[in-house]
Symmetry: C2
Subunit: 523 residues, 2 copies
């Protein structure tokens, strides 16, 4: 078909390295969809709900460190994807959202689907550009792609009125220059180095690129050379771990446990992470989990170049030739006893193999997994960073598109999986190598604990019916098959072990395992 504004946009995107578009389009995006048909170099993936679209873009961006595009339908379509953008923004994932809007001349009539698209995007985006002239569409596109890559990864939105997409094309333009990432606080280098050499108890709190690949390697060398502990906030986007890698200690979700872990440090140094704080406030508990007596030094913010910071620090500490401490391989025997969160986590860890990507949104059900999988195969762990529940399966979808040759294991609670259940269909449609494990305890187990922790209810009172996913129980095997994903339910530790082994052998499509886990005594 004749080259249109939509063609300019897509060609500018692909020239700037954007290769994937997760989409849930509508009428105002039809020219974009038609133009995608002319550009097979942009892979487009249909999702049945926008939460899958943005969550998948997050998973893709975390693994590739470059932006996917999303295609969303006006304000309400964007709104359905905001929770995923919230998580991505907190994870510093680069994403380019293309949001179709009414034609420029149609906005004034306030048609039924009209809403404030920019206002909708604002709280969950770094910058929004509304394109208003087809002659600038390619330039606007080049701008948002470059900007999404800056400052460690940002959420950029391009609002695309329908008439700009269908106007005659003016041609693509070359990628914009991506501004160099801001350097770390080099003036702090001396203080940080001194602390590390002082013999005091020092911890490095790592984030972003410090948690995997070359960054993790440097952090491990610095830790081994100086004796500093390597820590990560509970909400960290991507952690590489397993045998042979430096071990990271994760700061726990419960405030008391976090405070306890961080007690006794003379100095904590932030390297690509923000100061860890309590996820929620609780009566009588502090918001800050770092001991006020601890010296807190920021060496690199999440927006700054943490690889450069690590390199300077490795030089300054003389760790260039140092060998990291490395986790030794740990074989987990098949545990005795019934399926519960602890035996569950042990069985899961047995199946984490080299090169695997593990997505963990098991919430209370997988609370032990970080420990049981410490010495498992080398894997990347993706978690929910922003706390907007329902991230699990969409992250797995995006990671599988990013890394088609790696096995993906996605652990999700039944409560969390419910928010974005439609993702199962896209996993089946794309025949992705993803094994989904649904921990079915038929309750918002975490809220039972939270209700006690916030002091809302005494332990002997009957919990409110708003916490139970009972009567009826969700049958995850039927749901999964309904979306075309083969599924089974296990009842014992041994059955789970066998089912995982079988599922992970399959590489030509997803598989789901429902694991009933009894709601335990609340602690």
């Amino acid at each position: 078909m004749a080259a249109s504004g939509a063609h300019d946009l897509i060609e500018t995107l692909t020239d700037a390295g954007v290769e994937v578009c997760f989409a849930n389009p509508g009428t105002s995006e039809m020219h974009f969809v038609a133009a995608l048909g002319d550009h097979p170099e942009m892979r487009s993936i249909l999702c049945l709900f926008e939460g899958s679209v943005t969550g998948a873009a997050d998973g893709y961006g975390r693994m590739t460190r470059k932006p996917a595009a999303t295609l969303l339908h006006l304000g309400p379509g964007l709104a359905n994807g905001l929770a995923g953008l919230h998580n991505a923004k907190k994870a510093h994932t680069p994403i380019v959202n293309i949001i179709g809007d009414h034609a420029t001349f149609h906005k004034e009539y306030d048609a039924p689907l009209n809403s404030d698209v920019e206002g909708t995007a604002r709280p969950y985006s770094h910058v929004i550009r509304s394109s208003t002239d087809c002659r600038n569409l390619a330039a606007d596109t080049a701008y948002v792609v470059a900007a999404a890559k800056e400052n460690g990864g940002q959420i950029f939105c391009l609002v695309l009125p329908a008439d700009l997409a269908w106007s005659e094309g003016h041609g693509k333009i070359a990628p914009d220059k991506v501004a160099a990432q801001e350097q770390c606080n080099a003036s702090a280098l001396e203080a940080v180095t001194q602390e590390l050499a002082s013999g005091k108890k020092v911890g490095l709190i790592l984030g972003g690129d410090a948690c995997f690949g070359a960054g993790l390697k440097m952090a491990g060398q610095i830790g081994a050379e100086t004796g500093a502990t390597l820590l990560v906030p509970h909400a960290t986007g991507r952690i590489e771990r397993g045998r042979g890698l430096p071990s990271l200690d994760r700061i726990p979700f419960p405030v008391a446990a976090a405070v306890s872990m961080l007690q006794g440090y003379d100095t904590l140094i932030l390297l690509g992470a923000a100061e860890p704080v309590a996820f929620f406030a609780y009566p009588g508990l502090p918001s800050r989990v770092v001991d006020p007596a601890t010296r807190l030094l920021t060496f690199a913010t999440p927006q700054q170049d943490v690889l450069d910071a690590l390199s300077r620090l490795r030089d300054a500490t003389g760790a260039v030739e140092t060998q990291s401490d490395a986790v030794t391989a740990q074989a987990n025997d098949l545990p005795e006893g019934k399926l519960n969160p602890d035996t569950f986590a042990t069985v899961i860890a047995r199946h984490i193999c080299d090169d695997m990507i593990v997505v963990d949104e098991g919430v209370t059900s997988s609370r032990s997994l970080f420990d049981t999988s410490r010495g498992a195969g080398r894997h990347d762990l993706l978690g929910n960073v922003g706390g907007a529940i329902g991230a699990g399966m969409p992250l797995a979808l995006g990671a599988a598109i990013a890394c088609p040759d790696r096995p993906i294991l996605c652990i999700t609670g039944d409560g969390s999986a419910s928010y974005t259940v439609q993702t199962l269909w896209s996993l089946a449609q794309q025949k992705l190598n993803v094994t989904i494990v649904v921990c079915a305890n038929h309750t918002y187990e975490i809220l039972r604990g939270e209700m006690l922790r916030v002091g809302a209810m005494a332990p002997d009172e009957r919990a409110n019916s708003l916490l139970d996913i009972e009567n009826p129980r969700i049958d995850w095997v039927q749901l999964s098959k309904g979306y075309g994903v083969p599924a089974s339910r296990v009842q014992t530790v041994a059955e789970l072990d066998t089912a995982l082994a079988e599922a992970l052998k399959k590489v030509d499509g997803p598989q789901l395992i429902e694991v009933p886990l009894t709601s335990e005594a609340v602690t």
Copy 2:
């Protein structure tokens, strides 16, 4: 438990007549949830996704004309519900959203779930009040409830920091006075009356309270007395119709058909409706569907008191004693031939009985239903007003809670049902008398038509894979059973007829029927 701010809030709500709370809570709402346990006079309904929460509040408010409360978890929880609020706002449904937020003292730490809650709400709310002092919490509550009822129905949000909910209570307060609804443009009465008496071709475009109950009756009398046609915009929240009632003509969705229907009118008078416009812009087609040569008079805006306007107009036109023209009962014979959108709509109409509430989000599949059901039993028809797809099942949930003694028939496309599929669980959990009919054509059929209408693709080109919900096909029977809703699939006209008769006999819980409808030649 000891009376808390949350108790103040709930008691103030219930005293102001708010009896139902649709909820998907999290940690910051635990005191509210606990307080709900102390107040059984507030019925609380758990949804597994916030789109169900807000869509249900819309359905409830359309049927009761009073607000339900929603309970949502911080910015991302609210974000998941925005599409439903968009539809409710366009339908002028009153809703009171209670949005939990971090404790006031915790906000500054920008914990993972922190976001701009007010900014999230703004594009989809009339007013947002952030409560900041527990002494004012009850007053803030009384304010938002009263305001939600004003101007014909509004979306009001109360942002509730967790520490206000858990603070010691200061007591409920009495309901705020609801400001009287603004009167219609009475100065236009003479002009409107003259037009109606002039012998010209005049149409009344009705909205809001003019479309059912006493308003519809008055509109029918005015129409019968003056010969004016009664019209409704395609996107109308609630229409009462069927045998014995005045017949309303609905302005079609396709622009050309809408323009054609509205051609030849000398005068169109808006009574509780905004000017109907094209849903989307299309190259070469107008945004306005009213003929520029037609005189357009606004007698009552959607915000004004349309019942008062109708009463004045009935008096002025001398229609007080006039008998409305009434639709005669129309029996639809079981149609011959295969299941297609036309035979489907005929079969559905056969089962629309007196007192039924019909929710129609069948999109292309139910396009004939408005005509085939014109002379069916007296029923209320609820449609998607804002165009944010996925409204069907949530509207049915809310309507069923509002009207437990009325049968509900919910027609939904497979594309539309996918956005809020989790609603099935709440329908089962509440054992509601709802029959869901899923029209499964395995495609975004409307987008196939739209792609041609916007000129993006020639009819002979292969449509892009982004339009198909194929490979795999969704098995709605399995999905439904997975959520605890009994389900069946029919293949013929006769099977659909029998299945509907059976399903509508059941009154103690929902039932789903999957109806395969082939994607037709696109027109």
